[in-house]
């Protein structure tokens, strides 16, 4: 099969908050640079930034401070974050939100006096979450998307799936990225001097998950294959209330907002018992991970609703009031056939955000020269848990930094690099693997993976389950490699992409299970029933995994407390007392 | 369509509303059983007021309808914009000439 070739200076993968911001900043910084943005779906219409409901954390209010936001982030992350990255995140967020408002055109909600409104979000000591109603992501992405469309200088490759990072001939740096043009089913190699990986992670290998359907951990899988170190891979954040609509519907797993519990919604198990009291005195208002574990425990004990979850009940708050206060959510449920305001809706914990990803520096550079990373693909900002509202802050802050850094890096590193054609050819070959095999049952295989990850590498974990998972994953991957798809029309062939998605998910799932086995304590999103204690904070380590010639190598790396040590705070005495 | 054509079309439409109501009232009045041509003409002949009334009406209708026809030609026929424009101007002139001739016929003594 022929490969179409294209040359560019800067290549950006993904059109979420990170990718779009990088494109804008790169264009602004480097006048004559050729910039290409490639994305799996339509520009700005795929990925999770669009799905942000809650909002954007930023310390803009005079009563708040960057230090306070930082401490919330570190404590939320259970002292695992890379403090340099976390500091960059919270301090740069201030400028980024001003940029979003003043230059990009986002029109965030205001207080009656005209100042920016900050709402309360779980786990934070200040109401600092800036938002636009409960559709903040749509506002952010639509505005970014418009700005990028308005710049003809940015080449757009829509519905282009990145398949592999291709190194230079001497193996010292990145030389470009191989794609499949989804619409045509053909291969395209984009040779680039600098590449930004911003494909947005996305733990979609769980039976219940919230992220958009185009995300399948491709970026992290590609980086793993290219030999890059990954960290915090055991850290998968679950949202406690995903919609449970039964099998074979894409609605299942989609998120029911946090505010429902906050407003006084009750969770009932299959016996109609309000069970959260059995787990935490704060009942439904306990933190995400606690509520998720409570529900998961009820499910494991078999006290479930018909589809195997629990119920959320809002009707005692008055169906009319609920319908008014949570209009968007109630409408969405109604469209799908559920009565949230007046009836019972089945819910389950659902995989929401991936804290793990590429090891990177505060300037978004990685271990591979020329490769940069931003957004959910990058790791270290959140540690063991991401605060609600820090996700979109992360992608926009670091996407912008990447856009600033890449042109500067290009000045110091002129010229394209010679491509390693063998790797390129091997990757083209690899992508076509399923067409050479006898067509098989991909759906059952996917279900198998989703179930395995949910059961054994899910909300709570233990040694036996993780061992089971590691063997199971080997088998699933082997089975995948022998399962083909009909060798017909490759143009817009979603089944081919389902197969490729599954492969990325298998590769990354293995790392998640391995890292989860490595961490013998419980921090934030990672809970081991056999090691329920958080362990000593002062000697905290994070896990780091890389692919080597003889398999996955995992190590524990000590956290460096560059800004603040456990037990200390950056807040002044007065601040802290509040 | 652009703002200029739009404005003309909507202004003439608004202007025609009272004119048309009066006109319809006249028609109703005129459709009594025993109406003759002489009856009509006796009222209109030599009347500057009626001349003005119908003059404005004809002008408005010619402008309004020709812009409307232009839109329809553009949207419903393969005609190019330029051709549609010429056709609609032609239509406007036709309406104007016929209309003024009709007014002349009924008001000139």
């Amino acid at each position: 099969m022929t490969i179409e070739r294209l040359r560019t200076d800067i290549l950006i993968l993904g059109s979420g908050g990170a990718g779009l911001f990088a494109a804008l900043h790169a264009q602004r910084a480097g006048q004559d640079l050729d910039i290409t943005l490639a994305t799996k779906g339509l520009l700005g219409k795929c990925g999770c930034t669009r799905m942000v409901q809650g909002g954007y954390n930023v310390a803009l209010n005079p009563g708040d401070s960057v230090e306070r936001h930082f401490m919330d982030t570190i404590e939320g992350g259970k002292w695992l974050p890379n403090q340099e990255l976390a500091w960059t995140l919270v301090s740069k967020a201030v400028e980024r939100v001003r940029e979003l408002e003043n230059e990009i055109g986002c029109f965030f909600d205001r207080n009656p006096d005209g100042t920016l409104h900050g709402k309360a979000f779980a786990g934070q000591t200040f109401d600092r979450t800036v938002h636009k109603g409960d559709l903040t992501g749509i506002e952010i992405i639509n505005r970014l998307m418009e700005q990028v469309w308005a710049r003809p200088g940015v080449r757009k490759l829509e519905e282009h799936r990145a398949l592999a990072l291709i190194p230079s001939r001497d193996g010292t740096a990145i030389a470009g990225v191989l794609f499949v043009d989804i619409r045509k089913g053909t291969f395209r190699f984009v040779e680039a001097r600098a590449v930004l990986l911003a494909t947005g992670g996305g733990p979609t290998m769980y039976r219940y998950h919230t992220p958009s359907g185009d995300k399948s951990m491709d970026g992290i899988a590609m980086a793993l294959r290219a030999g890059l170190p990954l960290r915090d891979m055991e850290m998968v954040q679950f949202h406690p209330t995903g919609l449970l609509a039964g099998p074979e519907t894409r609605m299942t797993g989609t998120v029911l907002e946090e505010g429902l519990r906050g407003a006084g919604g009750h969770l009932l198990n299959g016996d109609m018992h309000r069970f959260m009291g059995d787990y935490d005195p704060k009942l439904e208002r306990a933190t995400r991970d606690v509520v998720s574990r409570g529900i998961y425990a009820e499910m494991k004990a078999g006290r479930t609703s018909p589809n195997g979850g629990v119920y959320i009940k809002m009707s005692h708050l008055g169906p009319k009031d609920v319908a008014k206060k949570f209009k968007g959510m109630v409408d969405r449920c109604r469209d799908c056939g559920f009565d949230l305001a007046g009836g019972l809706v089945e819910v389950v914990p659902t995989a929401h955000y991936f804290m793990g990803g590429l090891v990177c520096n505060a300037d978004t550079s990685t271990a591979m020269p020329g490769l940069f990373v931003a957004g959910e693909d990058a790791s270290g900002m959140h540690g063991a848990n991401r605060l609600g509202g820090n996700g979109v802050a992360n992608s926009t802050v670091f996407g912008g930094i990447a856009g600033d850094m890449m042109p500067a890096w290009l000045v110091r590193n002129p010229g394209h690099r010679t491509v390693n054609e063998e790797v390129l050819q091997a990757e083209v070959d690899r992508a076509q693997h399923p067409f050479r095999k006898k067509p098989g049952d991909l759906n059952t295989l996917r279900e198998k993976l989703l179930d395995l990850m949910w059961e054994d590498v899910g909300v709570t974990r233990d040694e036996a389950g993780l061992d089971r998972a590691l063997t199971g994953l080997e088998n699933i991957e082997a089975e995948l490699l022998s399962t083909g798809i009909p060798d017909g029309d490759k143009a817009f062939n979603l089944t081919w992409h389902d197969w490729l998605n599954l492969r990325s998910q298998c590769e990354t799932s293995r790392v998640i299970a391995l890292a989860a086995k490595q961490r013998r304590n419980s921090r934030g999103a990672h809970f081991r029933t056999d090691y329920p204690e958080p362990g000593d904070l002062a000697t905290s380590c994070f896990t780091m995994v890389r692919q080597t010639a003889d398999g996955l190598k995992i190590t524990d790396e000590p956290v460096r407390f560059t800004h603040v040590k456990p037990g200390e705070t950056l807040l002044g005495v007065k601040d802290a007392a509040e | 369509m652009n703002v200029r054509l739009y404005l003309w079309q909507r202004m003439t439409a608004a202007a025609m509303v009272p004119l048309l109501i009066v006109h319809l009232a006249v028609i109703f009045y005129a459709t009594r059983q025993d109406l003759t041509a002489a009856d009509i003409l006796s009222r209109t002949r030599g009347s500057v007021a009626w001349a003005l009334f119908y003059g404005v009406f004809v002008a408005a209708a010619a402008i309004h309808a020709s812009i409307g026809v232009r839109n329809i030609l553009v949207e419903w026929t393969p005609m190019r914009h330029r051709t549609a424009e010429i056709a609609s101007i032609g239509f406007a002139i036709l309406l104007g000439v016929l209309g003024l001739r009709a007014i002349a016929a009924v008001v000139l003594p």
């Binding site: - | 439409a13 608004a14 459709t31 309808a65 409307g68 001739r101 009709a102």
Partner: protein, 116 residues
């Protein structure tokens, strides 16, 4: 075969738009004829008189009724559009469109009774 799917047209407001357009075309077609007839009055009243007698024919009366209807639906429908375009939004557009059509039909009917 084409992928043409047009059920979005099955709604009152779309029909209202078409009634407006078709009545506009009807009027535009009729107007030159109307002027032509009036223009016959040039010189003497004879031609017109003959014409007016001809209009006594029932078929012609029906046609005239149709014209009154066209004028009215076009005017009332046009008024609705002018309201939509120039004043702040009000709901119940379907009702207004329906009312315009019904009213036009009623007046046209009254006209029909009168001319017979």
């Amino acid at each position: 075969m084409t992928a043409l799917l047009l059920n979005h047209r099955r709604n009152i407001l779309w029909f209202a738009a078409m009634v407006h357009r078709l009545s506009g075309i009807g009027l535009a077609a009729f107007l030159p004829l109307h002027f032509l007839v009036l223009g016959m009055a040039i010189g003497n009243g004879e031609n017109l008189e003959g014409f007016l007698r001809w209009t006594d024919a029932p078929l012609v009366k029906f046609a005239e009724t149709g014209l009154v209807f066209l004028l009215l639906v076009h005017m009332l429908g046009g008024l609705r559009l002018l309201l939509v375009e120039n004043f702040s939004w009000r709901d119940g557009q379907k009702l207004m469109a329906l009312a315009a059509t019904v009213m036009s039909a009623l007046v046209a009917f009254a006209f029909l009774i009168r001319v017979f």
